[in-house]
Symmetry: C2
Subunit: 152 residues, 2 copies
Amino acid sequence: MLEAAGALIETEGLAGLSVREAARRAGVSHNAPYRHFADREALLEGLAQEGVERLEQALAGLSGGELGRAYVRFAQTHPQRFRLMFKRRREAMQERFARAFAGLGADANVAGAAAWSLVHGLACLILDRQLPGDDEFVARVLGAMRFAQRSA
Amino acid sequence: MLEAAGALIETEGLAGLSVREAARRAGVSHNAPYRHFADREALLEGLAQEGVERLEQALAGLSGGELGRAYVRFAQTHPQRFRLMFKRRREAMQERFARAFAGLGADANVAGAAAWSLVHGLACLILDRQLPGDDEFVARVLGAMRFAQRSA
DNA sequence: ACGCAAGTGTAGACAGTGGCAACATACCAC
DNA sequence: GTGGTATGTTGCCACTGTCTACACTTGCGT
């Protein structure tokens, strides 16, 4: 089920995903999904959860510039999934990702948030076609900012 | 019409906006909107366009830290509108906003993109409740990064 | 072996939606 | 006046999310 819905989401777009169509693709009746997911939202929630785990996996073990580039690359590879992940508040994400990007600035919380913001904003703007998404540009943008020594 | 739809979008959320409900609120029949907008997408497009103009207006004349904070504040004040603006590719935006944030780094294009990414990412993560949105935190995050002198 | 409960799938029905076609009305140029 | 254009209206269709009611399978207690 998640499989069919996951495929649909990337081809038809996030708004184009209908529970019925996903059921059709999965070869079951239009109501079968409701045995496993309370409603459409819960289905999307399942897809989002799957996405969080995959992103975490993709970032595991990386650091510095590689980390940022991997984040952007994940967004480019699974754009709809990436958007979906952030369309509903999820408590665990701040801990997971902000922490991943911290460690280089003066105040770890603030520095992590800043680095995450930079990378996340770049990913969003690329997905929305507001900025080019080639590897070289990504690397140059990520390299254009650095942590302030100590501002406050 | 745009007025009714604009109000709806902020109260009911972006997905909760139906052409019919907007027409109802505007006191007209369910099909009247289609005289002015080709389809639902076009209506959203109109709202987005309106938003771009308002954001531009909100940023006019500002620079530096004030600029970034105003960007974030706009997103916080009109969250749904802000999200909508970036949900469809719009050619003019890169020119408008990337340029607004440039001017301090070595390569103006890259520096503008980087600053825009930082501010935009912060705005998105705050809207998605992944980061706190109080003024002090915003100021500290924006202050935590600076342009690299010259990296490449 | 039997029955029964839970898990899973099915079909049918309902209101709400986007969008189309056909019809009505107002206004404005000539 | 007549014609044309802009606007609004009703009726209709396919589709969607979701509810209810009905089947089938499976495992477990007796």
